[in-house]
């Protein structure tokens, strides 16, 4: 099962959806001011992406290729609505903070991209692992960016004080450009360490 391992590990670094493919940037900027929202967002995306991959993979032999995108979008949209309703039912405060960004998972390029690139032509088991791997790759980056922004911006991490009380919060980290900067630094470090990039 060397391929299974590769399917999961590949999106973590070498083919990371955010830092290498630069997809899903919108939510990586919008929900990463605090760890809590980023974590919930990562969970929501994991739920949507893995189940959409499995469902589309199960349906793959029955979907006429000319309307496959419409089918994919309806599957993803239904899943997003379910996740949104669950969040509203059980985590109302957080769901208000995340506002439209849970709903916007429908337009997240990662979900649609994996459905088109992988689930539509692979069996459900593999598609599940592909969905899981990509979700993890997304989640890792999201949590890293959120850690950086919350620590620099407010001196806390997941709501806990990690820096001295008199730490003066860095206003730039709280603004969206701060997420770009931290994301850029993460990409810089990743490419330097793995030495895996095309210089063109």
């Amino acid at each position: 099962m060397a391929t299974a391992k590769k399917i999961i590990s590949d999106p973590l670094s070498d083919n990371n959806p955010i830092t290498i493919q630069v997809l899903g940037i919108c939510s990586a900027l919008a929900v990463t001011v605090q760890m809590e929202t980023a974590f919930v967002m990562a969970c929501a995306l994991t739920a949507v992406l893995t189940s959409s991959n499995v469902i589309i993979s199960l349906l793959r032999n029955h979907i006429p290729s000319r309307i496959r995108m419409i089918v994919e979008v309806s599957v993803i949209a239904s899943l997003v609505v379910i996740v949104d309703q669950v969040l509203r039912a059980y985590l109302f405060e957080l769901s208000r903070q995340l506002s439209i960004f849970v709903g916007l998972i429908i337009t997240n390029c990662i979900v649609m991209g994996r459905a088109e690139a992988f689930a539509i032509q692979n069996p459900p088991g593999k598609s599940f692992m592909d969905g899981l791997g990509n979700s993890l790759g997304y989640s890792v980056i999201l949590l890293l960016v959120a850690s950086g922004r919350e620590i620099l911006g407010s001196g806390t991490w997941y709501g806990l004080n990690v820096l001295p009380q008199n730490y003066l919060g860095n206003g730039l980290a709280v603004l969206a450009p701060g997420a770009f900067l931290i994301l850029g630094v993460i990409i810089w470090v990743q490419r330097t360490v793995t030495n895996n990039f095309k210089d063109d």
Binding site: L168, N170, G171, L172, A173, L175, P177, L181, G184, W188
Partner: protein
């Protein structure tokens, strides 16, 4: 001087490949080229008769920065002594007090920035160059004298790292590193740098009640509807001549016009600073401010009615256009491009200043924005030349074919 060079050369073998301190070669190289002419010169013909290298260009900028720096030191001391009501303050005490306020800011900028610069030179194996000396001085001069020193350190670290080294060092940076550093502080710690209160160091044990005088820009932006901005400025003690002279609170080197004009004259005379950019900036500002004057006064804020010659001496416009906008790396490089670049900086600075109440000063953002646009301006200017030449050649070919 010979003696110094001999001493340097005596240790050269230690730093050369194979030597004990090989990794520190950039440091050795910096000592030698900062102090003496670089050793690698052409021996045979053809010669460049007047070698204008990066070193001379950057040192000229340093010389041009001396008048505003000295004024900044003097003024910081003057403002301190006035606000803290020090009695019998003489010119000498202004100087000493000012040096005690300003020198630590400049030193922190140089030391922290220098450590990062040298570290990158060693890792990347390129040379330390004089460009850093300019960045390390320009940055503190744009800060208010009240800035906490740790913020100076964080700011210059960000500017050198993200503004310059991440792109590959001097010559590759898209943005002016000194302004990048300032913009970082502006957005990260707006309370200390936003510019709506006069920046004068107040003694800790002598906090004057209600000392919250505003800068001219803040006064102008806060003028109530229907009133005249000029009257409001005069009332707050900022007549045109006061702002021209610059004995007022503000960022260290931006307040007075005279030393900046001296620096500009030196930059233009030596051919280092692009006069097209400076002239373009002044023209752009004049046009934008004059057009704003035409707006109906009843429907817009009174700030729009301020004449251009007031805009010219207020805030950091002149300092920005003379020292920041002319940075040869981040500015436009073609002659036509320089005009466009300069004019747009002037126009944008006024639009941001007057139009956006969140930013009392627009010069920094205008220059950074145009830094990003500069390569595009150059691209279209060059494309225009190419198209014109091609059309000329085509026309000539046709006339030959006919003849």
């Amino acid at each position: 001087m010979k003696f110094l060079l001999k001493r340097l050369h005596k240790n050269r073998h230690l730093y050369e490949p194979g030597g004990k301190l090989e990794a520190l070669f950039p440091l050795y190289e910096a000592q030698e080229t900062f102090l003496f002419t670089p050793p690698h010169q052409a021996k045979g013909a053809p010669h460049v008769r007047d070698g204008l290298d990066l070193k001379r260009a950057m040192m000229t900028v340093i010389f041009a920065l001396i008048p505003p720096t000295l004024w900044g030191i003097y003024n910081a001391g003057l403002q301190y002594n006035v606000v803290n009501q020090i009695e019998n303050a003489s010119t000498m005490t202004h100087w000493i007090q000012g040096a005690m306020i300003v020198m630590p800011i400049i030193l922190v900028s140089y030391i922290v920035g220098g450590i990062i610069e040298v570290a990158f030179c060693i890792i990347r194996k390129h040379e330390v160059n004089e460009g850093f000396l300019v960045t390390g001085l320009l940055f503190p001069l744009t800060l208010p004298p009240t800035i906490p020193l740790w913020q100076v350190a964080v700011g210059i670290a960000f500017g050198i790292l993200i503004g310059k080294e991440i792109f590959g060092g001097t010559g590759f940076n898209v943005l002016n590193p000194a302004l990048t550093a300032r913009a970082f502080l502006f957005f990260a710690y707006p309370a200390q740098i936003s510019g709506d209160a006069v920046w004068t160091v107040v003694k800790a044990d002598n906090v004057i009640d209600g000392f919250t005088g505003a800068t001219p820009l803040a006064v102008a932006a806060a003028t109530p509807a229907g009133a005249s901005v000029i009257d409001a400025l005069n009332e707050a003690g900022f007549s045109w001549s006061t702002m021209f002279g610059g004995a007022i609170g503000g960022s260290i080197a931006e307040t007075s016009v005279i030393p900046i004009l001296l620096g500009a004259a030196l930059l233009i005379a030596m051919g280092i600073g692009a006069w097209r950019i400076m002239a373009g900036g002044v023209i752009g500002l004049t046009i934008a401010a004059s057009l704003m004057n035409l707006l109906p006064a009843d429907n817009f804020s009174p700030f729009t009615q301020l004449p251009f010659y007031y805009h010219m001496v207020m805030g950091s416009f002149l300092f920005g256009i003379v020292y920041m906008a002319t940075d040869p790396v981040s500015a436009a490089a073609t002659n036509t491009g320089k005009w466009i670049y300069g004019i747009l900086i002037g126009v944008l600075a006024i639009i941001i200043r007057v139009g956006n109440p969140a930013f009392p000063e627009g010069v920094m953002l205008a220059i950074l924005f145009m830094n990003v646009m500069a390569p595009m301006i150059d691209h279209y200017v060059v494309q225009g030349h190419v198209r014109k030449r091609r059309a000329d050649i085509e026309a000539r070919r046709l006339s030959y074919a006919k003849g």
